[in-house]
């Protein structure tokens, strides 16, 4: 079966997601939360972390490694912080809950930290940063993962690609929003070059002797992603590991389970961390100041051939606005993945695609 790009409304895509999650035993509210995050991620144009991942989550829900009726809860807490056990529920469910707790703490003390253990892949970190910004808070979100990125001088993977996201209210502009991994590039870019049969810049990968390589063919079996900006990306990876792993009781490095390829019956024990700062309390002028900063960047002199300077998140918000208006143009790989998800949930994907 081959798939072509398909345009689908956010509402239809969301209903489809809720349907397959419900069919796999996830409760109504948790299905809605998960669908909202995955479809928003697609609407941002971040298709690697949107509904394409649903198939993997469903497999794990059926396998028992994710608990369809898991209930995340606070296990320890103080005035400004909490540690949440995700009870092996969907990473989106645990993370949304955890950021809500961080926001509640921040309302009381000005800032809140919530560390999470016993979570799973949480999709796009930016979703939880944006959750904070929607409430007028500065939000940060991060997570650890299985080793996939080298350290400077290593021969193989040492840290996870450990995403880090933030969002900042920006007055009349959409929030500033960055969602980055600490690797030079995502593995998906290497796969794309491999499929096209093209070499890659020698800065993206090291081979199995630890030497730079421009050959994408051996990835991921015999080559490893490099950390962004060398020791800087490696250093950020360990900061994220500190806040999302070491401080929370989550598994770390090789003891984290692969959410995609690992034993489907076992929890992955991912860690995550969420921070919120109360803008209204600490710096009520902040949105206006960020608005001006963005205006200043937009007006800055540009290199030849550059039409616009973008601030972090700007492209994603424009994609979201377009998706709300015109629907989401799902790439073929996402449609294919949704086809498998439909089969697992005994749903008719075509019905949702045909009636945008």
């Amino acid at each position: 079966m081959s798939y072509s790009p398909q345009v689908i409304s956010i509402d239809n895509l969301s209903e489809f997601c809720i349907g397959v999650l419900r069919a796999c035993g996830v409760g109504e509210a948790d299905s809605r939360v998960t669908a909202q995050i995955l479809t928003t991620t697609d609407a941002w144009g971040v298709f690697t972390h949107g509904t394409k991942a649903l198939r993997g989550y469903l497999r794990r829900l059926k396998g028992g490694g994710l608990a369809p009726r898991g209930v995340p809860s606070v296990v320890t807490e103080g005035r400004g912080w909490a540690v949440v056990d995700g009870d092996s529920s969907l990473g989106m469910v645990t993370s949304t809950y955890a950021m809500d707790v961080a926001l509640a703490k921040a309302r009381y003390t000005g800032l809140g930290y919530v560390g999470v253990r016993n979570s799973c892949h949480f999709g796009a970190a930016g979703a939880y940063a944006a959750q904070a910004a929607r409430s007028g808070f500065i939000g940060l979100a991060m997570a650890n993962d299985i080793p996939s990125v080298a350290a400077p001088g290593s021969r193989g993977a040492v840290t996870g690609s450990n995403p880090l996201a933030y969002a900042v209210p920006a007055g009349r502009h959409h929030p500033l929003m960055l969602d980055m991994s600490i690797a030079t590039v995502a593995g998906g870019k290497v796969y794309a070059a491999r499929e096209r049969g093209e070499p890659i810049p020698a800065t993206w990968l090291i081979d199995d002797q630890g030497r730079p390589t421009d050959d994408p063919q051996a990835y991921p079996e015999h080559s490893t992603l490099t950390p962004a900006a060398g020791h800087k990306g490696f250093g950020l990876a360990l900061l994220i590991e500190t806040l999302a792993g070491a401080l929370t009781g989550a598994a770390m490095t090789a003891r984290v389970g692969s959410w995609l390829a690992g034993d489907l019956s076992a929890p992955t024990h991912h860690g995550a961390a969420f921070l919120a700062l109360d803008v209204a309390a600490i710096g009520p002028d902040l949105p206006a100041r960020i608005e001006s900063l963005i205006d200043e960047i937009h007006a800055a002199p540009r290199a030849a051939g550059v039409d616009r300077l973008y601030v972090p998140g700007e492209k994603e918000w424009e994609n979201l606005d377009r998706s709300l208006r015109d629907g989401i143009a799902l790439p073929p790989d996402v449609v294919a993945s949704l086809g498998e998800a439909a089969a697992m949930g005994d749903m008719d994907l075509e019905r949702y695609l045909k009636n945008p």
Copy 2:
């Protein structure tokens, strides 16, 4: 007058610093704090941010842009946060005070944020992160600065090089400690290549049309540092600008004064931000878990020709241990700068160098 490398004990270097600061009107306690930070930075081997900067601070103290008797104070606060006005005192004085306030907040709520305005260049961000780690806390420190780094697609500087540092208690190991700027490389590396007449990698600079260049000669008049890992470094710059500038009431981007080259009679209005997390409250296992993580990294397979894998801060702590034992081997440019500082403070540098 030419200078050669000089070995000096930390104590002697510290006494010299205190002497010149006292001679320029700085109080006893503030002189001690400043000397401790600058000499520790030299002892770490980070000579660009240690006592070499003293000359510039003294000029500004004499010019009036830094207040020798300035007293930083909390201007607004909540349970877990505060905003500090530095009163144009030395950046080291304000920042040490601010991290102390953040630690006090963190003792109460589990984590503390302190934003700073009306500060100046604060030396090495790592000094304040280390201050937190010495007390058993996770510490983060960051600051904004005058524009010196491009944005992706820009033709000139858009953000500061905005340092970010963290330190994490690590059991029997020294703390994990990263101190990075968001530029691909520090300007000092470009100057060094220029002096050697060597080309640089085309990823370090853009020329005044916004194109990559491998020519260090036109820096900094007609070329600009690039952000580390492109949009990632740019995105981190704006996160730091948010926490250190927009949230604190500090000056931002072009409105920050140059601490080195600007009007010596005017405050620079730098911003900074400090975060502390209480390890004993949130995650008492953290030091042991970080200790194991470091052991694991040390044991990871290495690339051919690599003797050791270093974790962030490890080289600096080894340098500090060596400096404590053998004294600090000051490079000639630092000795020359201290010579000028000595003249401004009417001190005899030779006396301190001759009797290590």
